[in-house]
Amino acid sequence: MTAADPDQAPGTARGGVHSPQRHDSALKHTTGEATYIDDMAEPSGLLHAALVLSPVAHGRLRSVDLSAVRASAGVVAAIAAADIPGRNDIAPSSSNEPLFADGLVEHVGQPIAAIAAVSMDAARAAAKKVGLDIEALPAILTIDAALEKGSLLYPPSVVARGDAAAALAQAPRRLSHSFRVGGQEHFYLEGQVALAIPGEDGDVTIHSSTQHPTEVQHIVGRVLGLDYNQITVMVRRMGGAFGGKESNASWVASVAALLARQTGRPVKMRLPRSHDMVATGKRHGFLYRYDVGFDDDGRVLALDVTLAANGGHSVDLTPGVLGRALTHVDNTYWVPHIRCTGLACKTNTVSNTAFRGFGGPQGVVVMEDAIGRIAHVLGKTAEAVRAVNFYGEGVNDETPYGQKVEDNLIRRCVAQVTQESSWAQRRVEIDAFNRASPVIKRGLGMFPLKFGISFNIPSMNQAGALVHVYSDGSIRLNHGGTEMGQGLFVKVAQVVAEVFQVDLERIRVTPTSTGEVPNTSPTAASTGSDLNGWAAFVAANTIRQRMAAFAAGHFDVPEDAIAFRDNHVHVARPGDNRVVAFGELARLCHQGRVSLSSTGFYRTPKIHWDPQAMKGRPFFYFSYGAAVAEVAIDTLTGESRVLRADLVQDCGRSLNPAVDLGQIEGAFAQGMGWLTCEELWWDKDGRLRTAGPSTYKIPGSRDMPPVFNVRMLENAPAREATIFRSKAIGEPPLMLATAVWTALKDAIASVADHAAPVTLDAPATPERILMAVQSLRQGRSAPLAAPAE
């Protein structure tokens, strides 16, 4: 066969698709040889950059005096807004978001100026000598204050179907509630960093720790006034990203490029953790107000919900985040009449940005909260209420935004996790434990997930790849996706190995570069392997077909007599089965003047979206999952522990089960952190006081559930034509941690014998848990805990 089949993998070579392959850099990680940007050999004349950040949340910036900075020892250049040759605008999707504050500062930590010096310490010491004249203005620091003042980044957006108001009015039962979830710091272990090296004719090469090299290229071009072809952006690997290096990497690289341009010398801009945490965006905190109508069976008839997101001081990626939240309120539930209103609150805090899940996590919690309260009102279990509301198969299967749920695996996931977690038996055991245990209470929680895969903006769903086969048969692979630890490079290499039926070791993946594959989309929205895997497939398959055609001619057989198998090419001739090594055929092709290099391009089919109407088919397909978590809480201190988690995650036909398992476990940990211990705390002056790991606590090894059962849904190839019928995995399992929040509420509710509903804002810190317990014990329903954002 001349073309590879993207649905069926023969798997005759080592390391093809569906096999559990180790991360391509694993041994280099453990030996310390894997090189990150700050580890690269420093070019001669390298300068180090530091930032001047705003000390106030909101104010008129009357002047920036850099004279003492410039006179400081070791300083080579210092620049502010006026020194920008192009446009002072780093907006990824909107416009007029300044790189350096110009006339106005809008949050504590906003960059005002940058310094290049012979050492990082010299640059940082000089930064302290800046003269800032700022007239402080009143600051809006919370969602509540923004709502009160009508401070929005852009007009409200609405996803709606039917007539929610009328249906609510007619519903037999109705309840309303309000709650909040906090934001989240990415805490990638490698902070933001870029190294800019000036070249000839104003060109610049930038090594950037970015998920979006093309956007770095574009924004550097905009800020420096250069054409895109003058800028080459490269990234071999990131030390974690999680969405935090999607838009934020661009301005960091722009600072390095500006200073390189100014000085004519290479410049490295590396943010120390304390700057990284105040100057770069985070997950959006949300405030929810909802009104839900339902019948006596718990069937939800109508939902009217407002989602107010803390966008921070600028638009950044908020429209996408809020849009994804709005399209994930429904989660696994069919709600006939629904109105979801999204408010992008403008506050004087750092501009919030992409973070794994991209608004999805903040969307799916709404119905979970509502279901918990409906169950309480009706005296039913949440599981029973969930079951009557799941999307149907063939009926009740259209989302509020008009996309049909065609590949519904909801009940399958829920049934499997219910069974594997021994839900019914443990429910009884836990209730018995709680009756006998006055201080420590246990709780059990479930969460089903449906998550849409594709960028909400259809134009972003495209990818390119570049494959070279050399005349010795070794293969070089490049694509637009970036490696941040998620194992994308090995997965895409597995696709190429599968196409050629050669061992994985034959394929070298090279650093992502705007010079090799242009006009790329960010590695984000879980789409990395879906998009780049397909693009690499197309590129490799093009070469394979050329090789097959050449072989047919060379060996004088029909093309369908050529088979790629087991590192060889088999030529079936009557009475003569010739086998040549793959490398030998490559050599012959070269001799025969056949091009062994090809680009590949892919665009996701079927998707469309009307951003005004908020209708369409934004997602190529859905990913599904379900989780059960068990927790224990201390009703004297509010401390909690996750005792067990059982997860079932749909991966389609996994490209790499080892990598996917790591994604599921790691995402769950991160989601758990978001909902429990990770708290962003700003003081009344708008200063983030949890700006380092000493104060901002991500989960540690002991926080992981001691019993942690993770299963990939079996025999569930993707219904759509994804690459080898696999499914995206980066983000969905993060949301499975919602089961921990549900379980915590269950444990708290046991304090009042499940007779009162529980309000528990996230993150569920010991303080919030204790206050929720106390409010139940005192018969109040409102918690005392401070609001989270």
Binding site: A26, D38, F187, A241, G662, S694, E767
Partner: protein
């Protein structure tokens, strides 16, 4: 005397000339030495990406390894020691160390940035020969943050290693004999005295110099705040400060004894202190940090300080001019980070009264995360109850006031009263008169007050319902 920093790096003698003795080991490794495997993740001793190990030769040449955060260690502290980094684990032929292979094979890496630090913590754990128990593995990992994996494969790799009988230690180097030293560059003088007399003279002559023990607090001013101290006097090389003496009803702790070295003494009736110290920082911090340093910086939260209050500690101080004196812990804290320690004095040792059998003694640390977190509230309570009546009570708390402090009104509400729920309730209510805690990111005033009261209730439950489950860690 020496003016060049000399130490062993990955088994090889190294002299680092022309550098500041206050430069961090991390900056030196990544800069001058170009050993970039060791990463900077936070520069505040909390993420563990910069973990290296200090090696000491134990009897028989078997090395003992102590993990430490290279970001918190000044080069002056490295003088005379043996340091191993991730680059120093490979075999002579370049083969990866079994620890490196185990983590890679177990899919224990994703982005890889935390990995070298995790490898060094794993290495120290494997060489230490600890049993393959989850609790110990978490102990060994508490100072390392991983944001990608969820830790499961890392813990699994450590379990596998711990089940092997192979000696995984890289052959130990001979240790450079410790020597007193004066290290300096144009900006910083770093004294490492090797005797009490030398230390006393330095303290007398240079009262403004930083008195450095482990550097887990002071080191932040260099690593995180990028200060350059003019003069540092490092006390860790003074043998007299390294002693632990077990006396009848007392334990004497030399001021420069690290938490790691103290831990073996914290069993028996001091087990509650041991349990708390195992949650104080992480192993990387406990390799460096000292009780004396905790007293010196006198943080309002400093986790050992309420314990010292509860155990009625005596602080032995000494100056060159006035000789020794002893200050009771109740008279030691004068205000926010102000203490009775005079400018020319050093802390020599701390005596604590060991709880006696039959006494009620508990230490509770409440924080957002169980490991490597600064307490919102730390309570240390010691009570003697005879014939159902509370005879003595010392209730001490951290995180409740500008200094670690006893709850005197709550104590008064207990002493002489029948040991009952009603008495405990009165004591809990009295805490509101004892303390007006702060609102901050670790907890609101209301939360802190509520928890402090509930810790007294927990104490009562423990005493009256032995075996009852009163902590989530018991599950």
């Amino acid at each position: 005397m020496s003016d060049t920093i000399a130490f062993l790096l990955n088994g090889q003698p190294v002299t680092a000339a022309g550098i500041s003795p206050a430069m961090t080991l991390l900056d030196w490794l990544r800069g001058s030495a170009r050993l970039t495997g060791t990463k900077e993740g936070c520069a505040e001793g909390d993420c563990g990406a910069c973990t290296v190990v200090f090696e000491t030769s134990a009897a028989g040449g078997r090395p003992a390894c102590a993990p430490a955060n290279a970001c918190l260690v000044m080069m002056g502290q490295v003088h005379g020691r043996a340091v191993r980094t991730v680059e120093g684990l490979r075999a002579a032929d370049g083969a990866p160390h079994p620890v490196q292979r185990a983590l890679a094979d177990g899919d224990g890496t994703q982005c890889g940035y935390c990995t070298p630090g995790i490898i060094m913590s794993m290495y120290a754990f494997a060489v230490g020969g600890e049993p393959p128990e989850a609790a110990l593995i978490h102990d060994a990992l508490a100072g390392n943050l991983c944001r990608c994996t969820g830790y499961r494969p890392i813990v699994a790799a450590m379990l596998t290693l711990a089940q092997q009988s192979d000696d995984l230690a890289v052959p130990a180097p001979d240790r450079i004999p410790p020597a007193s030293a004066v290290l300096r560059d144009s900006a910083t003088r770093f004294d490492a005295p090797a005797s009490m007399d030398a230390l006393m003279a330095l303290r007398r002559d240079f009262p403004d110099a930083w008195l450095l023990a482990g550097g887990t607090d002071l080191g932040l001013r260099v690593s995180h705040d990028r200060e350059t101290p003019a003069h540092v006097v490092h006390v860790a090389g003074v043998p007299e400060l390294q002693l632990v003496s077990v006396m009848r009803e007392r334990l004497r702790i030399g001021a420069a004894v690290t938490y790691a070295d103290l831990l073996p003494y914290l069993g028996g009736t001091l087990e509650p202190v041991g349990a708390m110290v195992r949650r104080l920082g992480a192993r990387q911090i406990r390799t460096l940090g000292t009780v004396g340093g905790n007293l010196g910086t006198a943080s309002p939260i400093g986790d050992t300080l309420p314990v010292l209050l509860a155990l009625d500690a005596a602080i032995h101080l000494r100056s060159a001019a006035r000789g020794p004196r002893t200050v009771g812990i109740d008279d030691y804290f004068l205000g926010y980070r102000r203490t009775a320690l005079a400018a020319d004095e050093v802390i020599e040792a701390i005596d604590i009264k060991v709880p006696q059998a039959g006494e009620l003694f508990h230490v509770d640390k409440i924080s957002k995360r169980r490991d490597q977190d600064i307490s919102a509230v730390l309570g240390a309570c010691r009570l003697r109850i005879e014939d159902g009546v509370v005879r003595t009570a010392r209730l001490a708390f951290g995180g409740m006031a500008a200094t670690p402090a006893r709850a005197l009104r709550a104590e008064a509400a207990l002493i002489g009263q029948g040991w009952s729920e009603a008495t405990v309730e009165r004591a809990a209510a009295a805490l509101a008169d004892d303390f007006q805690p702060l609102d901050d990111w670790r907890g609101s005033a209301a939360y802190r007050l509520a928890v402090a009261g509930n810790l007294l209730r927990r104490l009562y439950l423990r005493a009256t319902q032995p075996g009852a489950i009163v902590e989530v860690d018991q599950l």
